[in-house]
Every structure is written in structure tokens, then in C-alpha cells.
């Protein structure tokens, strides 16, 4: 079950890290209602992460042991073992970057969950079924913001262009399967992400059209997240996130 565990960790890490990033907005959002909305999405993502971590812990556990838990997986692995998409760990930047990151990600995640519901793994299918409802809302919310900012003021349009420039190189990774995924695709429990690129692009194109924005043409793409090769940002995020678990090992909280 090693590739399965890796796959589950990839899903768990990505949702946790993105949830963590979104949660950094809490108390600092540009509009009170949107502060609540982004915190809500953070909560949804952390909730999804917990389901994947719990399942991963169950699968990774040696018979009779109890040392692997959702928290040991989230708090006691270093960056070299984190398998989140690079997109998820990118900084919040301004509101344009945050909502575009969410839209690019949720649009992908929706397609993943859609296929996962049909996969051979019953538990993953159940998680996907629950999570896809939340994701539907995340796409709607972030997509509306993409249009609002793209078609808002000159300033907001400029910031959206900047956000696209910053984030686009991190999208290719979503559709590039690594070894554990390839094995899972063969065995039927992993989503064939390469096949999602066209439908994903269509959805992005549609929103961008409405927003007056252009999808960048064939640009260089950065990968590595799923193999534990991250950007320099993740190390700082984990140092902060894991501090208490590391500083007071073996404690109950």
C-alpha cells in the first residue's frame, strides 16, 4: 500500500497547506464577509485534509500499532516528505493571488473528486463525494472573484495579470502524474490527472473570457512538489505550523 499512502498524503498535504495559507487571511481580509468566506474555505480544506490523513494513517499503520495519526503525519514530517502541489504553498500575496490560486486549484480539485467518486477505492470515493459539494462552492466563489477583479477597475485588472504571471507556472504540475500516481492509475484507485487538463483549461478559459483575461500560451512549468522538491516557501510554513508538536514531543493537546 505504499503508493496508495503516498497518494493519500499528496491529497492531504495539498489541502492542508492551501487551507493553512487561506487561514492566514483570518482577521485580515479586505471585506468582513470575505474574511468569513476565505476562512470557511480554509476550514473546508483542513477538514478534507483530515479525512485523507486519517485514511493514510490507517493504511500506513503497522498491525497493532497506533503511532501513526493524522497529527503525526501533518506535524512530524519535514518538507522533503511533503507531497503537496507547489501551487498550494505559494504566498497569499494580494487578494488577486489568493482568489486566483483558489480558482485554479478548486477547478482542478473538482475534476479530481468527480473521477475519484468512480474509483475503485470505496473510502476515497466517499471522501470525494462529501468534499465535492464544498469544492463546488469554492469554484463558484473564487470564479466570481476572478471575474469581478478581471472586469473591475484598471488596478484590479492589472493585479489579476500579475497573479496569472505568478501562479501559472505552478499549474502544469497538477496534470503531470508521478510514479505513485501512475501505479494508482493502473490499479484504478488514482485519478488520471493528465486527462483532466483539457476540461480544466476549458473552465479556466471560460472564466478568463468573462473576466477579460487571457490564458497564457505554452509557458514553462515548474514541478517537484509531489516528489518533495518544493519552493523555498514551504520550509518556513512548516517551521511555524509544526513548532508546538516539535517543541513538546509526545504531548496531548
Amino acid at each position: 500500500s505504499q503508493p496508495l499512502v503516498q497518494y493519500l498524503l499528496h491529497l492531504a498535504d495539498t489541502t492542508l497547506i492551501l487551507g493553512h495559507r487561506n487561514s492566514e487571511w483570518c482577521g485580515h481580509g479586505p471585506i468582513l464577509e470575505q474574511d468569513i468566506a476565505i476562512s470557511n474555505i480554509a476550514l473546508d480544506l483542513i477538514g478534507q485534509a483530515r479525512m485523507f490523513y486519517q485514511y493514510a494513517a490507517e493504511k500506513a499503520q503497522q498491525p497493532g500499532a497506533t503511532d501513526i495519526t493524522e497529527d503525526s503525519l501533518a506535524y512530524l514530517r519535514d518538507g522533503i516528505d511533503f507531497k503537496n502541489l507547489l501551487l498550494a504553498e505559494q504566498q497569499n500575496g494580494d487578494w488577486a493571488i489568493t482568489i486566483l490560486r483558489q480558482f485554479l486549484y478548486s477547478s482542478w480539485q473538482y475534476l479530481v473528486y468527480e473521477q475519484m467518486q468512480q474509483g475503485t477505492d470505496v473510502q476515497m470515493a466517499a471522501i470525494a463525494e462529501k468534499a465535492i459539494k464544498e469544492t463546488t462552492y469554492h469554484i463558484k466563489w473564487s470564479g466570481e472573484w476572478v471575474i469581478r477583479l478581471g472586469d473591475g477597475t484598471e488596478e484590479s485588472h492589472k493585479r489579476m495579470l500579475h497573479a496569472i504571471e505568478v501562479l501559472w507556472p505552478f499549474t502544469g504540475e497538477m496534470f503531470t502524474p508521478v510514479d505513485f500516481e501512475k501505479e494508482g492509475i493502473q490499479q484504478g484507485w488514482a485519478v488520471d490527472v493528465a486527462s483532466l487538463q483539457q476540461p480544466w483549461l476549458q473552465r479556466i478559459q471560460q472564466a478568463f473570457d468573462e473576466a477579460g483575461l487571457s490564458v497564457p500560451q505554452s509557458q514553462w512549468q515548474q514541478t517537484g512538489g509531489k516528489k518533495g522538491v518544493h519552493t523555498e516557501l514551504l520550509g518556513f510554513l512548516l517551521a511555524e505550523m509544526q513548532h508546538l508538536q516539535r517543541a513538546y514531543p509526545g504531548s496531548e493537546w
Binding site: E24, G27, I31, E240, Q245, S251
Partner: protein, 316 residues
């Protein structure tokens, strides 16, 4: 109708426990007192997000992270209800923000203290939310309808938060020596500021009488404070910690706990802006507001464009 007559009808309703509603006549001083109190309360919810928000990224387990995030989000929601209640009195949310950012409007001084350890998340929940509830529960029956209804929703969630805070400390109290030390140290720091949350002593609180007559207030500061001390002095025993007050002692005669003198110099200092985090808290809110200006402008511009386009379509 003459004002005197209005005033009589108004006070009559209040005496009969009939809610005052936005369109009803009310004395200007009643309106102003409510605006001041509700907006101050709303601001406290919003500023109150910051000290707890400070630990969201460092919560020590996924469960705690989710609980804390949900709690801080609830506070944003409370802010929202309360701003809406205040708006029914004829002040806009932007006006209220401006008063907050300029320093004209106040918020609860308790949020000018820093959260330094994870245990503070527990202490804030137990003591600060605990004190807030003492203040707020009577407000569910206050005479102004929209405010009373908002408070019903707020109180329901607050008492849930307080239990979570207590439970967090309970876990620490059963934990390692480091955890127990962390929790006791946190209680030591938060106790007196929480006791001060009830405001000045009654003899130094001149507006109380009028507010009680209007049923905006139903108990005096000292009555509520005594109740708070009585409850906490018992609860702290369950935690196996102590409150940092050598004078705290059960008084058989009064059937209340006696407690030590409050350091009003500190209280006044913090109110005057000289608390550990006054500047930091207000700066955080002002930054959020300033950095969000372009977002709000874009949203407005887009909404207007849309409206125009729709009008053009309908006209065609």
C-alpha cells in the same frame, strides 16, 4: 406629538418589556448610547479576532486548528450581526470603521493583551469569553429589538467557545509539567485583565443608572464582576490551577468570594492606548482596511458595470 408624550410611551414599553424597534420613536440619548455600545461591541469582536488568530497557523493539532479557526470565524460573524444591528440606528458600517480606525470608537481593552503561548487560547476562551458571557447574557433581554436578537445568536456561540477554552486548559492540566506550567502562567496573565473587563467600580460608573432604566444594562459592573469571580474561583479548582490573587477567599457571610483590589492604573493605561498591543491591533485592522481598498473599489466598479449592462439589455 410632544417629546414628553413620546418619551412616556417609550418608557412605558420598556417598563412592560416590549422591544423598541428601529422605526419606533426613541430619545436621542438612547439612540446614541446604543450606537456607541453596539458598535463598540462589534469592534471588539473584530479586534478580538487578532489575538486568537495569532495562533491559527501554530495550533498544535489539526483538530485544534479547525476549532480555533471556526471560533475566530464565529467572531467575525458576531461582528457582522452587531454591525447590522447598529446600522438600524442610522449609522453605516463604513462610518463605524472610520471611528474605529481614527481611535474615536473604543473596543474592549482585553484584546490589547498579547497571546504568548498556546495556553492563552484556552485562557481567552475560559476567562475572556466567560467574562463576556456574564456581560452579554443579560443583553439578550435588552430593550432594543435588533440588538437583543443579535445577542441571542452571539451568546449561544459564546458559551460554546467558553466550554472549548475550558476543555483546552483541562487537557493541558492533565498534560506534561511544561504544559501545566504554560497553562498556569497563562491564567496568571489573563486573570486580572478579565476581572477588569466589567469596567470601573459602580461608584465610578456614572451612566449605569440611566442605562438600567432603559434596560440596556440589567446588572451593575460590580454585580457582574462578583458573579464572574464566584464562578471562576470554583472552576479553577477543577483545573487544579490557582488564580493569582492572594486575597481570594470565600466569605461565608456574603456568600461570595472576596477578592483583591484591582489595579485601576493599569486599566486606565490600557484604555488610554498604552497597553502591550494597542498600536499593533489597530495597525493590523487599518492595514487590512487600506490594503483591501482596491478590492472594494473593484467590487463596486464591477457591480455598477453589471447593472449598466443589464439595464442596456433590458432597454434593447
Amino acid at each position: 406629538m410632544a417629546d414628553v408624550q413620546n418619551e412616556n410611551i417609550f418608557q412605558d414599553k420598556i417598563d412592560q418589556e416590549i422591544k423598541i424597534e428601529p422605526k419606533d420613536w426613541m430619545p436621542d440619548a438612547y439612540r446614541q448610547t446604543l450606537i456607541r455600545q453596539i458598535s463598540q461591541h462589534a469592534h471588539s469582536e473584530i479586534i478580538g479576532m487578532l489575538p486568537e488568530g495569532n495562533w491559527i497557523t501554530r495550533a498544535p493539532s489539526l483538530k485544534r486548528k479547525a476549532i480555533l479557526l471556526a471560533k475566530v470565524q464565529d467572531e467575525a460573524g458576531h461582528g457582522l450581526y452587531l454591525y447590522s444591528a447598529a446600522e438600524t440606528l442610522g449609522i453605516s458600517r463604513d462610518q463605524m470603521y472610520q471611528q474605529l480606525h481614527s481611535g474615536k470608537a473604543k473596543y474592549s481593552s482585553i484584546f490589547n493583551y498579547p497571546t504568548l503561548t498556546w495556553a492563552d487560547i484556552g485562557a481567552v476562551g475560559w476567562l475572556v469569553d466567560g467574562a463576556a458571557i456574564m456581560n452579554q447574557v443579560p443583553l439578550c433581554r435588552n430593550s432594543y429589538g435588533p440588538y437583543a436578537r443579535a445577542m441571542v445568536r452571539v451568546c449561544k456561540e459564546e458559551s460554546f467557545h467558553q466550554r472549548q477554552g475550558f476543555e483546552l486548559l483541562l487537557i493541558l492540566s492533565q498534560g506534561t509539567p511544561e504544559q501545566r506550567r504554560m497553562a498556569q502562567e497563562s491564567i496568571n496573565r489573563w486573570w486580572w485583565p478579565s476581572v477588569m473587563m466589567f469596567g470601573p467600580n459602580d461608584d465610578a460608573s456614572p451612566h449605569t443608572a440611566q442605562s438600567m432604566k432603559w434596560k440596556i444594562k440589567r446588572f451593575t459592573n460590580d454585580e457582574l464582576r462578583q458573579k464572574f469571580v464566584d464562578v471562576c474561583a470554583e472552576q479553577v479548582k477543577i483545573l487544579g490551577f490557582t488564580l493569582p490573587d492572594p486575597d481570594l477567599k470565600w466569605n461565608e457571610e456574603r456568600q461570595h468570594y472576596d477578592f483583591g483590589a484591582i489595579d485601576w492604573t493599569e486599566f486606565n493605561n490600557v484604555i488610554r492606548g498604552n497597553g502591550p498591543c494597542n498600536k499593533q491591533r489597530l495597525d493590523a485592522r487599518k492595514n487590512a482596511w487600506d490594503n483591501g481598498a482596491w478590492v472594494r473599489e473593484a467590487a463596486t466598479a464591477y457591480a455598477e458595470k453589471r447593472k449598466k449592462r443589464q439595464a442596456a439589455v433590458e432597454a434593447a
